[in-house]
């Protein structure tokens, strides 16, 4: 585990990267230096009645300027509170936590699959893949064009887009884009709503893409984020459970019992 910090960080910028999303840029050199692509932080929220921290993937980190970014949408009281933070406000964070994506150096193509706000984790992922010399095909799905993360945030990747309403790219699901990709010898990095991940596994099956080559970033409820509450479990292939906060959130698809997977939040 990368050394987690428990600290307050100042908001240096708040912006709207795409429709329905908010981006908070925090200044914290230690956190920025420690964070790996796919890891998450537990952010404290001051919303009425909220007592648990909220888990958020590190969207990107720039150790050289000591900044770290989070991209999120407003789904309830906690994210609404975070969205109300302004420049100068402090945010209390715990992290980085959990396992990021495993990225090996080399030239085997990487296929990134981002559904909805799952894209939030990918700026860091693309940066890491580039640094590892991996060619990247990026499949980006959203409801509508305005909800797509600007290309500039995914520099270096070959971007392919799908929207549910057809306002940009393919008219359909991000998974339909997979058909257009050679998946014979690639690594897949996927993040999105659990139902999308489950469908991805089915599609991979058909395309004879081995699960061992697919890494998924999971979303489960998180009590502690550090392995003490046992509230975040994901069914393990072969029985028992994985702790999403410690064994994940990024997990190789072949370690998961997909039939036992539940989705507490989406769809």
């Amino acid at each position: 585990m990368s050394p987690a910090v428990l600290t307050e960080a100042a908001v240096v910028e708040r912006s709207i990267p795409m429709a329905g999303a908010v981006e908070l840029v925090l200044h914290h050199p230690t956190a920025a230096a420690a964070a790996r692509a796919g890891q998450f932080f537990q952010l404290a929220v001051g919303a009425p009645g909220a007592i648990l921290r909220r888990p958020y993937s590190v969207a990107w980190a720039r150790p050289e300027i000591g900044q770290i970014g989070f991209i999120f949408n407003i789904v309830g009281t906690g994210s609404a509170w975070l969205a109300s933070r302004q420049r100068g406000h402090a945010v209390d964070l715990l992290g980085p936590l959990g396992q990021g994506f495993v990225i090996e150096p080399g030239n085997r193509p990487a296929v990134c699959i981002a559904g909805g706000l799952g894209v939030a984790a990918f700026p860091a992922v693309v940066t890491a893949l580039m640094a590892a010399g991996r060619p990247v095909v990026f499949l980006h799905g959203a409801r509508t064009a305005s909800q797509l993360l600007p290309v500039s945030r995914l520099q270096g990747a070959e971007l392919r887009v799908a929207t549910d309403d057809g306002t940009a790219g393919l008219h359909g699901s991000v998974l339909d884009l997979l058909a257009s990709v050679a998946v014979s010898d690639v690594d897949v990095f996927a993040c999105g709503p659990t139902p999308m991940l489950r469908r991805l596994i089915e599609v991979a099956q058909r395309l004879e893409l081995p699960r061992s080559r697919v890494q998924v970033a999971l979303e489960t409820p998180m009590g502690c984020g550090v392995g003490t509450c046992l509230g975040c479990v994901t069914p393990r292939r072969g029985g028992g459970y994985l702790l999403t906060c410690q064994d994940g959130p990024c997990i190789r698809a072949d370690r998961i019992d997909w039939d036992g997977m539940v989705d507490a939040f989406h769809g």
């Binding site: 550090v226 046992l230 459970y241």
Partner: protein, 307 residues
């Protein structure tokens, strides 16, 4: 310098009245940010005879100023605890209290037997909020069952024995008395309150188990009332638990007569809460010019009769 030392009976002394509660600190290994030395003691996750996978997800849900959990006693089993964990605890400055769970008196006793005399195990806390498979109801809601379980555990160990009361009863004092009479060295109060949440969008209970245990600030007034009742009736020390988040919360329980407190849910959001509260209590005693924690209580303790 004010003395924050606590005596839980049987010569079991803690350097601080601030403990971390079962199920909120694992087995003490997963909180890198916590200075264990600041803790009065660590109470482990509920430990059973055999390993348990626990319940299917969803296991937790946030509620107003609280959270529901139905973990299902996921734990590696007593054998692993004895061989893999205890040897490491042996070298820690902080005492580790093993929280024991089971479905029959035999289960509980077997767990204790396995750990009795194992270096690193400082004491036992009996989680009597478990259902008794034989007799259908929880040990903790029936004074006779609770007494029998305590007596059996008592005869199985020389270590300090703490019994953790469930608040989901009409008369917690009756249960507490039965446990005291059966030989408990101290009691901890309270465990979670049974609650439920429904996902109206999905039209089903949020938790796979339907109901779960409510913890956090929401239950603090209920827990304080329970502790107030129990400290008014027992001679043995009482450890207060329930929604404690701040120094003031801890003071409320100590004033209500508890000799120590356990922090649970707050550990998730504020990993350093125990240290902060320990510091705060010391500062409070000094500001008030009090020598020890005992002088905080609003009522005199019931002194053991030496008849």
């Amino acid at each position: 310098m004010a003395d924050l030392g606590v005596d839980l009976g049987r010569g079991f002394r803690l350097r601080s009245p601030v403990l971390v509660a079962s199920g909120t600190f694992g087995y003490g290994f997963d909180a890198p940010l916590v200075d264990r030395g600041a803790l009065g003691a660590i109470v482990t996750k509920g430990t059973t005879l055999r390993p348990r996978d626990g319940n299917r997800p969803t296991r937790i849900a946030e509620t107003a100023s609280g959270m529901l959990n139905a973990i299902g006693l996921q734990n590696p089993g007593v054998e692993h605890v004895a061989t893999a964990f205890a040897p490491l605890w042996k070298n820690w400055a902080v005492p580790v209290i093993v929280n024991v769970a089971g479905e029959s008196i035999e289960d509980y006793v077997a767990v204790i037997d396995r750990l009795e005399g194992t270096p690193g195990v400082a004491a036992f806390e009996l989680n009597i909020s478990c259902p008794n498979v034989a007799r259908g109801l929880q040990f903790g809601v029936d004074a006779r069952l609770a007494g029998e379980l305590t007596a059996a555990a008592r005869s199985a160990t020389r270590l300090p024995l703490m019994v953790k009361l469930t608040p989901n009863v009409t008369d917690i004092v009756a249960i507490a008395r039965a446990v005291e009479d059966a030989g408990a060295d101290c009691v901890s109060a309270i465990n979670t309150y049974v609650g439920m949440a429904i996902d109206v969008r999905r039209r089903r209970a949020v938790l796979d188990r339907e109901s779960g245990g409510l913890s956090g600030p929401a239950i603090k007034p209920l827990a304080l009332q329970a502790v107030w009742q129990v400290t008014g009736a027992l001679r043995i020390p009482v450890i207060g638990i329930g929604g404690i988040t701040t120094v003031a919360d801890a003071l409320e329980f100590l004033m209500a007569g508890a000799v120590a407190v356990q922090l649970g849910t707050v550990n998730y959001s504020r990993p350093q809460a125990a240290r902060e509260i320990d510091d705060g209590l010391r500062a409070h005693l000094e500001a008030q010019g009090l020598r020890d924690l005992g002088s905080l209580r609003l009522r005199q303790p019931i002194v053991a009769s030496h008849a």
